[in-house]
Symmetry: C2
Amino acid sequence: MSEALRPAAQRPATLEDVARVAGVSRATVSRVINGIRNVDPAIQESVRRAVASTGYVPNGAARSLVTRRAGALALVVSGSGTDERDEEATRTQVFTDPFFGRVVSGVFTGLRPHGVHPVLMLADAPGAREQALSYLKQGNADGAMVVSTHADDPMPGLLLAAGVPTVLFGRPAAPLPVSCVDLANRDGARLAADHLHARGRRRVATIAGPPAVRAARDRLDGFHEAMARHGMPYLPHAEADFTQAGGERAMARLLVEHPDLDGVFAANDLMAQGAVAVLRDHGLRVPEDVAVVGFDDSSAATAGRPLLTTVRQPVEEMAAEMARILLDVLARPGRGATSVIFEPELVVRRSS
Amino acid sequence: MSEALRPAAQRPATLEDVARVAGVSRATVSRVINGIRNVDPAIQESVRRAVASTGYVPNGAARSLVTRRAGALALVVSGSGTDERDEEATRTQVFTDPFFGRVVSGVFTGLRPHGVHPVLMLADAPGAREQALSYLKQGNADGAMVVSTHADDPMPGLLLAAGVPTVLFGRPAAPLPVSCVDLANRDGARLAADHLHARGRRRVATIAGPPAVRAARDRLDGFHEAMARHGMPYLPHAEADFTQAGGERAMARLLVEHPDLDGVFAANDLMAQGAVAVLRDHGLRVPEDVAVVGFDDSSAATAGRPLLTTVRQPVEEMAAEMARILLDVLARPGRGATSVIFEPELVVRRSS
DNA sequence: ACACGCTGATAGAGCGCTCTCCCGCGTGCT
DNA sequence: AGCACGCGGGAGAGCGCTCTATCAGCGTGT
């Protein structure tokens, strides 16, 4: 009965079937499909017809088994080394950050020409990390692109040890021999500092990202360094978690301790956006009273008013490059690690 | 030489190897690993030791080949039926929308307990669609979760025809026998309408989403319907594309034609955020002069000032449910399509 | 005339796993 | 004692594909 009910759900055609229909051997069909070696055009044609008539689609698993290629790459979003408290909230936070979307977008740009799809993996908690790792070891993906922020994240090391071809977004904290793409974060922060100084701001505070995140530290360091060069070695500074809400809280704290500040540099746009909101809540005008400079040039920079002056990080291009590097490593293994550092760019808008 | 250079890169252990070490047959090892049937505890233990000592990891492809399960599910982001002009910009736009992140987050919530990872696929252009489809037919994923917005999107139909287990986010435009999760969009819009009316707003305009998107149409219809019931059958209305920039343009147009309006309902928060920005640019106060109500309760609702009154769409829960439904369909096929409709909820904040 | 390369096609050996049979053994019932 | 039965374990047949080794046929050089 069930047979009669679904005539469409027949056993899918195999190479064998196609070969029989075309009157050739399995091997020949395989050659035609994979486009290798010379096959008589007439035979090619008849094979193609047979493929069409049988509705043949190669079986990915069977192919993977022998080629040892999965045809998929993992995009691993890795967290810190320790457990998070509220897993689900953290997850939403990670994925809702425009940064994540930009990475995904860039990865697609890099992968699309090769017909490869990214498998998304979250390696935030130890359990998830184990799982992701074993998934990769099982050969379900040929390599990993890792967005790892925390310096104490063991994921890059684990992947390397497991022999999984890996490319990181962001330099590794430890000096691992692994390819990566990154931004010259210090330079970017310097751009922001020079700009604020040029705008005549002399009581400037910073809202930094988590110190465990290397990019956050680099931005903070670069900013302080440049400001010191301008004769301002001591700056008020608050730490936040790269979220808008965190930025708001940090700004509020800063305002309590330094009500007279006239400039703020936030380590990303989300926090800058939060800072602007709080400044306004306190009756301060941006940029007249306080100039604000963000970082990233994400959608958050143009979401509110005033439009945010920010340091552009070309996340999409970086992610696309990360994908390309991984593809390259896969294509010809054995060469050393490549790292590509992108240069930031100041985008002046209305908030400064 | 290459042999000598990488002792670690040996041929990975197979079941056979483990069996030899443990002194049992392949079948027994397989049973232990998959936890089926009773195996003598002593033997189980020795197998486990052998697995550990050999560093055995099952080969996913080989397993898939015989089980006919990929152990992966696809998350398909599907676009309209036609080509987009600027592929890359559209892509960034899609992925940067908080909606996407929330869906991903929810999908993870639903999938994690089962150790399944989502494969991300973009089926925006015809070429990409073909590709995604063939990927699925090859059995690289066991089913698809489809975020399809445009009513003329052929993807759901194609997947159904291909026999790929599918669950949609958002009801299908055509009455396809396919499972889905959705929001009672009309009800949500009604909530917004009643609220604006209760606030005493009588010159209300709407910023609608693309008419090709069913959810957009439903929200518009529901809003108009409720307003008509309040004695306001004719409302100014502008269309936009669910982006902030689109919302800004729509608001600007609306303001030219109806400078006296005192309320705006936008079909999502991004557009509402844009509307607020433009209203402010025009020197209008929100909510004193113009009340604004958004839709979704995404991060955009709390990103700016004033905090947006909005209609909550529990995207994460919906996506998690979508994942669960798909898992369920996979676990026991043959049952009819399930659809789960979520109820919206009004979240009153400061913009109204 | 023969050896020789070259092209185009085939046969068949796996890839690593699951799963259906089947078998031997201990147990309880007649 | 004989027998059916449940249980733990092994043997081996594939799953659908790729790819190497092999071979037939056909000029070509000497």
